[in-house]
């Protein structure tokens, strides 16, 4: 049997590869970066929502299962540059430091994931200009390494705000969809801050809180046990105050029906999830359609969310839309099963 190509070594791709190997199928696992684990590894996620498990406890087993499987041929820093269809399967050209050239594969799992919205595009929030306006993907790493101090002056902040839906649910930047993770992850970050530093006051500016399903527990806990405060309304702009020492969040408290201008020591932006550049490239390479949002679209998202509609090409994880790690891992398993069936003919 020709190997199954798994493109992308994030949670979805790692899960698909391990599942295929467990079924006895050879796998060619290709990742363009120099590490396994996708976005969670790239940004050094701290604890994971919703169960507050350290990210390593989820990522390490995913990676070690793949590294321990002899059936999986792994390539970091490698991409697919060209694709040609065969009567059954594909010919793909790999480009990487260890391996280059054409390989035949029986089927393909695309697990190419997402990219973060670039918060600089919401210029009114000052990200990139004011050092204490921080993107929450960077804040993950700051919590992880216990570096909660302000980039501007190294002081411990007394008051932090999170702003939800940055680059999501916003036609101005062309992203009308919901990022699904921003609420839970921001709330989780506030809880982590309160666990480590109960003296820091934490506020979340929201339009809606979307901690769907069983994740609601995290939201309740944050209020009931950690005293995280929620202010309804979206910050309209962030400026500097007190000679650059603090940030001023201008917004409307829509419950109070009043304008507010509140000073903070640090403001964290919950930037949305966009289709990854790798996902867009893969769509072109394999000639697959993308939806209006730019994510890959399953042919029948209800009935078979892992099938692209193109024979032999399967989809998993955040390549088809914002989603959480457990969903990405589950889809990796589903795609693996379908790809295996296709490869067996």
């Amino acid at each position: 049997m020709n190997p199954v190509l798994v493109l992308g070594g994030g949670p979805a791709g790692l899960s698909a590869a391990a599942e295929l190997a467990s079924l006895g199928a050879p796998v060619l696992l290709v990742e363009k970066e120099e590490y396994w684990g996708g976005n969670p590894r790239r940004w050094h996620y701290s604890l994971l929502a919703p169960d507050l498990l350290p990210a390593e406890e989820v990522l390490n087993p995913l990676v070690s299962r793949v590294e321990g499987a002899p059936l999986i041929e792994r390539h970091l820093r490698t991409t697919v540059s060209r694709v040609e269809p065969l009567s059954s399967g594909f010919r793909v050209e790999l480009k990487g430091p260890e391996t280059s050239g054409w390989r035949e594969v029986s089927s393909v799992v695309l697990a190419t994931g997402f990219d973060h919205f670039d918060s600089r595009r919401k210029y009114e929030y000052g990200y990139g200009r004011y050092p204490d306006v921080i993107d929450f993907k960077e804040f993950e790493g700051m919590i992880h390494d216990d570096r909660l101090t302000r980039p501007s002056d190294g002081a411990l902040p007394k008051r932090i705000a999170w702003l939800l839906c940055v680059g999501s649910r916003d036609v101005q930047v062309g992203n009308p969809w919901c990022c699904r993770m921003g609420c839970a992850v921001s709330i989780k970050q506030a809880v982590e801050v309160r666990q480590k530093h109960p003296e820091i006051d934490t506020y979340v500016y929201y339009m809606d809180i979307r901690t769907y399903g069983l994740w609601e527990d995290l939201y309740w806990k944050s209020m009931n046990e950690y005293g995280v405060k929620f202010i309804r309304g979206r910050i309209g702009q962030i400026t500097q105050a007190e000679g650059g020492k603090r940030l001023l969040a201008t917004g409307e408290d829509t419950i109070l029906s009043r304008p507010t201008e509140v000073p903070f020591d640090m403001i964290v932006l919950a930037s949305g999830m966009e289709p990854g550049t790798g996902t867009k490239e893969a769509a072109q390479l394999f000639g697959l359609p993308v939806g209006p949002e730019g994510f890959l679209t399953p042919k029948l998202s209800d009935l078979n969310p892992v099938e692209s509609g193109h024979p032999g090409i399967f989809l998993a994880g955040a390549a088809t839309g914002p989603k959480a790690i457990p969903d990405a891992v589950t889809e990796g398993m589903g795609a693996a099963l379908r790809a295996y069936k296709h490869a067996r003919g």
Binding site: R159, D201, Y203, I209, W220, M223, N224, G227, K229, F230, I231, R232, D253, I255, L256, R258, P259, T260, E261, V262, P263
Partner: protein, 243 residues
């Protein structure tokens, strides 16, 4: 927009003599409306309320409005200003000035406890609202109402002689409010009350026996009680003067 009826405008500020950069802008030239922009968040109110046995569940509220929707006072009695959900929000985020406007209204709760039965987040709404009321009372962030002033006049009157002097109370309270009735009217009313047995004591009533010794004890108890209740109030707000 011209200000038509100034008494209707909230936050109007005007000073009788003011010079700005050498220019006289006294009187109507410097009538301003205070900014409605809220500029800070202060958690000392919610911290205090949470620390009270009654207020412990305040953090849970997520502003769904279930309590207000079923509240006897708000919905059935139609007292729109009495909005338990809103009081909680203001206390949670420390919007003290806005909260102070409701210092009187907040006590209108009739403790039917419908809100507590219905709140999806398990907030003991009735207790929390009372706790917010206590906070407002103790910190005196709100201007005193006629009811507050009556309470104070009543306590002073009672403490003076150990027995209530109703006519005297009426007299001092009325005078304090600047609402004196014509003397003829007062006499007529006093007489009618006396004749129908509803004016129990007058200036001639006997002082309570042993009051000279009892009074300082009571006074001390009252002031100690007040001091105890204020003990852990946030230092930010000046406590209100006692009766």
């Amino acid at each position: 927009m011209p200000i038509v009826e100034k008494s209707l405008v909230e936050g109007l500020e005007r000073s009788e003599s003011l010079q700005v950069e050498g220019i006289d802008v006294s009187g109507d030239w410097n009538t301003f409306i205070a900014s409605r922009v809220h500029t800070d968040l202060d958690l000392s109110i919610v911290d205090w309320v949470r620390g009270q046995p009654q207020g412990a569940t305040i953090d849970r509220c997520w502003q769904c409005g279930t309590c207000t929707a079923g509240c006897c006072m708000h919905t059935d009695y139609g007292l729109e200003e009495f909005n338990p959900r809103y009081f909680i929000y203001l206390a949670q985020l420390g919007y003290d000035k806005e909260l102070a406007r409701y210092a009187q209204t907040v006590w209108r709760c009739v403790s039917c406890n419908k809100c507590v039965e219905r709140c999806p987040k398990g907030v003991k709404v009735e207790e929390v609202v009372h706790s917010i009321g206590t906070y407002l009372e103790l910190t005196g962030t709100a201007p005193k109402s006629p009811a507050d002033r009556f309470d104070e006049a009543y306590t002073r009157n009672l403490l003076a002689r150990g027995i209530l002097d109703e006519a005297g109370l009426f007299q001092t309270f009325e005078a304090g409010e600047g609402r004196t009735l014509p003397t003829g009217e007062k006499l007529r009313m006093g007489l009618r009350l006396l004749l129908t047995g509803r004016l129990h004591t007058g200036p001639l009533a006997k002082r309570t026996r042993g009051w000279g010794r009892l009074r300082p004890v009571l006074e001390r108890m009252l002031s100690e009680d007040l001091a105890r209740r204020r003990q852990d109030l946030p230092a930010r707000l000046p406590p209100k003067g006692g009766p």
